[in-house]
């Protein structure tokens, strides 16, 4: 029997009142790679992300993560070790009224792991992410945006999930710092073998970081395939339009 897929989306339709957000979407995300989902606002990419995470129940269809049926809005406990999110603004994914250390200790609570054991593992994760222990005593508003992003990632990594799902990870980041986050995701991927699913409107980033890509429009996947073939020889007109609309200047000479 072949390895199960990291994520399998089978015929998922999501209806909101008066509107169909996803229309029979099927998707197979292989293990241990980086899979990119691109699309513009209203394409359904956010709804698909929420459906995969189980925050949104499908009207029809089903989602499997590592072969396990996604129970959708029930029993996140079993699922927490399989999949963890990295939300668009990680600072907002930390409770504003709790210290960073308290937020991270909740991982031990969720996993039923003693606090000391968790804190021991935390040391390793913090080292990998370049975080300092004093951060634990701060509130989210007292640390920088970059630190908050790393804390949110650290919390996800403490679950040692099989799949990490990042929602618009570079949105709102300056070009001088977005590379830092992308390099971090690449290191995590290499070190842990986690499957990375990135949902983004940033075609240029997805083109470089993803092995496979799905392009969404109007609740459908209009094109899916190997990143190189999708970007170099797009089959769908919409993908071609998207790529052609991306502002591009003249090639920059490598400096330094």
């Amino acid at each position: 029997m072949p390895d199960p897929l990291a994520i399998e989306v089978a015929g998922v339709t999501v209806d909101f009142t008066g509107m169909r957000a996803l229309d029979g979407v099927s998707l197979a995300v292989p293990t241990a790679g980086c899979f990119g989902i691109v699309g513009e606002s209203g394409s359904g990419k956010s709804t698909l992300l929420r459906t995969i995470l189980g925050l949104q129940g499908p009207t029809r269809g089903e989602v499997r993560i590592e072969g396990v049926l996604q129970p959708h809005r029930r029993d996140f406990r079993a699922q927490a070790r399989l999949v963890q999110p990295i939300f668009q603004d990680p600072a907002l994914s930390l409770s504003p009224r709790r210290r960073v250390g308290q937020s991270l200790d909740e991982v031990g609570e969720a996993l039923g792991e003693p606090r000391d054991a968790l804190r021991a593992r935390l040391g390793g994760v913090f080292e990998r992410l370049g975080l300092q222990m004093p951060v634990l005593d701060r509130y989210p508003h007292q640390i920088s945006g970059g630190q908050a992003r790393r804390v949110a990632i650290a919390r996800a990594l403490l679950f040692q999930p099989r799949v990490l799902i990042a929602d618009e990870p570079t949105a709102g980041l300056d070009v001088s710092v977005q590379g830092d986050l992308l390099n971090l995701l690449q290191e995590i991927r290499a070190a842990t073998g986690v499957t990375l699913l990135i949902v983004s409107h940033n075609l240029a980033v997805i083109r470089l970081i993803a092995d496979r890509v799905a392009v969404m429009q109007g609740g459908h996947i209009v094109e899916e395939g190997d990143s190189r073939s999708v970007f170099d020889a797009p089959r769908s007109d919409y993908t071609r339009t998207l790529i052609a609309s991306w502002p591009r200047g003249q090639p920059v000479e490598a400096t330094g």
Partner: protein
């Protein structure tokens, strides 16, 4: 028209005051030259002060801002940037603005038509209501809004973000300013809509012959649409020049570094996506409350030499390319 002098901003300095702290020196000696009918990009990252430049030129700074110095040359006039009343005289007549969020320019309780009529009442006081209506509909048609007569009766919330931004551009079209300041006009929009809205902004320039100051963080937009570019960092212009030359051979290491960090749609890629690594600029922005008497970028600069720390460099022309300016002492 072709021989009219450029719009020039000279020596703009802005501090932000807050109780109990030294002032944040948000802009220091910022100068921009915007030739007639050209599009000048003002490119910088968050915290660079690029939006503060726009707000200062429009006279719309926050109450805790203090303009220390600066003047704007418009045609034969010279406006003192510390004179709020004089700046208000430019606003809506000589200068118009497109914000990132079109809602900032549109009153949710008024129809689209009411907004356009309002512009025409100030710009063409003699026109009759029927004439104004005709010109307003024509303006909406020009910026690519279909069924413009029906849209006149809509309220802003009934339109998509891209449509609202087009309405703001139509208002600028009717105001016929000498300079349109566009502050991140497409940042909230999808790329396909971005291309359309940028095309409308360029068409506006062609139709009314105004100049455009495009304030953006997107190097792709600058390279694609601008004639000149000004690179701003931590409140200082570090480099100015024709876009093609600046992109081809940056005369300041900061320009070179952000161009290298920018991820383009046709960037070279590693054989396997897993091996791809991304460029960054190490370090942080300097504190605007405690500035060293040195090159502002030196602490993060790969090419810095001891001379960079010796004094604060001025923005000076390159010896062999006098139309380009840089603050880097190594480039001269």
């Amino acid at each position: 028209m072709t021989d009219s002098p450029p719009i020039a901003l000279q020596g703009l300095s802005v501090d932000f005051l807050s109780a109990g702290e030294p002032p944040a020196r948000a802009l220091r000696d910022v100068s921009l030259t915007i030739p007639p009918r050209s599009i000048v990009g003002l490119v910088g990252e968050s915290g660079s002060g690029k939006s503060t430049v726009a707000m200062a030129m429009m006279g719309l700074l926050a109450p805790n801002a203090r303009v220390g110095a600066g003047r704007i040359d418009v045609g034969a006039r010279r406006i003192d940037c510390t004179d709020g009343a004089a700046l208000a005289g430019l606003r809506g007549r000589d200068f118009a603005m497109v914000f990132q969020d079109p809602s900032a320019s549109l009153n949710p309780t008024f129809t689209i038509g009411a907004h356009l009529h309002e512009v025409l009442r100030t710009r063409s006081p003699g026109a009759t209501r029927a004439e104004r209506q005709e010109r307003a509909i024509e303006a909406l048609r020009t910026v690519g809004i279909d069924r413009p007569d029906a849209r006149m009766r809509n309220h802003p919330h009934e339109l998509s973000g891209g449509m609202r931004q087009r309405v703001v551009i139509a208002m600028a079209l009717l105001a016929r300013p000498r300079l349109l300041i566009a502050d991140e006009p497409t940042t909230a929009l999808d790329v396909t809509v971005e291309a359309q809205v940028m095309a409308e902004i360029v068409a506006l320039r062609d139709q009314i012959g105004c100049s455009i100051l495009l304030i953006t963080h997107s190097l792709g937009l600058v390279a694609r649409y601008c004639d000149h570019v000004s690179v701003i960092y931590a409140g200082e212009v570090l480099e100015y020049g024709p876009v093609a030359e600046v992109v081809r051979a940056p005369a300041h290491p900061y320009s070179a570094d952000i161009f290298a960090c920018d991820i383009e749609i046709d960037a070279p890629r590693a054989p396997a996506a897993a091996d791809q690594r991304f460029r960054i600029i190490p370090g942080n922005l300097p504190s605007l409350r405690d500035l060293p008497a040195a090159c502002i970028y030196a602490p993060r600069c790969r090419k810095a030499v001891p001379a960079c720390m010796a004094g604060h460099p001025a923005l000076l022309p390159l010896t062999d390319e006098p139309e380009r300016e840089t603050r880097c002492i190594l480039a001269r």
